[in-house]
Amino acid sequence: MAEFWQQVVGGLATGSVYGLLALALVLIYRSTSVLNFAQGEMAMFTTFIAWSILQWGEYWIMFPLVLVIAAGIGALVERVVIRPVEGAPVLNIIIVTLGLFAIFNNLASWRWGGIPKGFPTPPEIHVTGIKFFGGGALDVGPTAVSYHDLTIMIFAVGIMIALYLFFQYTPLGLAMRATAQNPVASRLMGIRVGRMLTVGWALSAVVGAVAGLLIAPLVLLQPPMMMGVLLYAMAAAVVGGLDSPVGAVVGGLIIGVSEALVGTYTPKDLLGPDMKLTVTLVIILVVLLVRPTGIFGRRTLRRV
């Protein structure tokens, strides 16, 4: 039983990373109906920038700095690359994001090389005697939970709460939700729709950057490190409902836990851990058969 819970906790932690990246995808999808295939590569790129900053700086100085840089990159990508194809068929925009995928991947390989690098976990902080972050493990009943897994979960929950408050209670958040629903009416309210899209991309890049920083210690820092994560994140977003931030995180957790359990408990003669991807896909299929819009996806309800 101890092993079971061990796997569940581990799954929740990686699931949180999938959820964060899925959240980044959903933020953009909600306002532009575009799946940003470069989301993972942008996160990988900012993680490399973080690694470079770490060569001469403290982790907790690097952290906010990288988030600001990520926001800048996100905003720049929207202004320079996405804005010109705005209004084009969705397929065109998807191709552009695939191009971005290749650009960020090549840029990173060229600047930092392909050799995997170690990436540190956030260093520990003591708040009133309680240890946060850092390495080691915490004994919870029969299972040992690694501090980094806890770190990931704390960040995921924190970001979710922050985004919820932002979208629900600030004028800017409300304006962004309005823009996603009805751009023309938003203009009549005095909302600058273009600026809202820029902010959306910036925000999404920040959330993705956090996902990159948290997963890097587990998978080693290298140009293809986010590919698998992106695949699971897309699965998470689809399971949760592509327009629902809550769904993205819940979908991430479902996928993370099922991935961990299937990897551990599938018998050897049934391919063992190699069944992970298949089972994940079966979960997606079953969910979509029952609820085509995902678990939290909204089926529009309106009277005319």
């Binding site: 905003a75 202004r79 004028p171 409300l174 304006a175 939700r177 309005a178 629903q181 009805n182 023309v184 009416a185 938003s186 203009r187 009549l188 309210m189 005095g190 909302i191 600058r192 729709v193 600026r195 820029t198 909204r298 529009t300 309800l301 309106r302 009277r303 005319v304």
Partner: protein, 280 residues
């Protein structure tokens, strides 16, 4: 309040307005009548900046606005309540009303910065926008904190006034607006427009899809808003009878041109209008 001169506007190659001129005096209700496709909605869209005019001029409170974008015009004090209401259907009634007040609180960098931006090259504009994006947030935040109490009071006052006109909205304030009835949706659309505290209200086809009794109720409230607040209103309407009842002046549009213009009393007596639009 509003002077439109020789306004020409088109959707791609299809010309919708062939030189429309009209005046809306301070404190009046002006009705624009006409059949389907005569260019009534296009006129409003051109005035509010949703449709960029090809030529002609639009003056609002003494200022040329025909080169401005819709999101700039609203903060000058003009609210456009569009055809089909265009609510944010998945947001609550209160959230729709909060959005209505958005322009009053986001008047970022007035006319000066925008004029400055238009004079710049493409690269210069990008740089200007990036600096704006970086510094604008901080500046807005600082101003937001400074003026929070004042804005809160403003907002609550505007909200209470709208709940006075439309008590049903107060009851429904946490309901998703897409689930309101048609009449309630129209009331919300008008309320949302009023949250901007406009000097001029552009009202597009408020009777669309509504039962006659509800239409009458809405027109009575529109008239009350004009009388009690002295708000200037430009209303586009197919129901000519009702529109001329509350309006001071009327224009009749035919295929993108003004065919008739007169006081509403004279229009109601006019033989041509009676035959074509009043069904008598």
């Amino acid at each position: 309040m509003l002077q439109v001169r020789d306004l020409v506007a088109a959707y791609g190659p299809i010309v919708a307005l062939h030189g429309v001129s009209l005046d809306v005096p301070d404190g009046s209700i002006v009705a624009v009548l006409g059949a389907n496709g005569a260019g009534k909605s296009s006129t409003l869209r051109a005035i509010s900046g949703l449709l960029r005019p090809k030529s002609g001029s639009i003056k609002f409170a003494g200022q040329r606005i025909d080169h401005l974008a819709a999101e700039q015009i609203v903060s000058l004090g003009m609210s456009h309540i569009p055809e089909g209401r265009q609510l944010f259907a998945e947001l609550t009634v209160l959230e729709n009303l909060r959005l209505g007040a958005y322009s009053r609180f986001a008047r970022a960098d007035g006319g000066g910065g925008l004029a400055h931006r238009q004079g710049l090259s493409l690269l210069g504009r990008l740089q200007h926008d990036l600096i704006q994006a970086a510094t604008g947030g901080i500046r807005d935040l600082a101003r937001g904190i400074r003026e929070y109490r004042q804005r809160r009071q403003d907002f609550d006052a505007a909200l209470n006034q709208i709940f006075d006109y439309f008590p049903i909205l107060a009851q429904r304030k946490n309901q998703i607006s897409g689930t309101l009835s048609g009449g309630e949706q129209q009331m919300l659309a008008i309320g949302r427009g009023l949250m901007a505290r406009p000097r001029l209200l552009l009202l597009d086809e408020p009777s669309m899809g509504l039962a006659p009794l509800i239409t009458r109720e809405i027109f009575e409230i529109v008239q009350a808003i004009n009388r009690t607040q002295g708000m200037t209103i430009l209303v586009v309407e197919q129901n000519a009878n009702l529109a001329l009842e509350i309006a001071h002046y009327g224009y009749v549009l035919e295929t993108g041109r003004i065919a008739l213009a007169d006081t509403s009393d004279n229009l109601r007596k006019s033989e041509a209008v009676r035959r074509s639009y009043l069904g008598q």
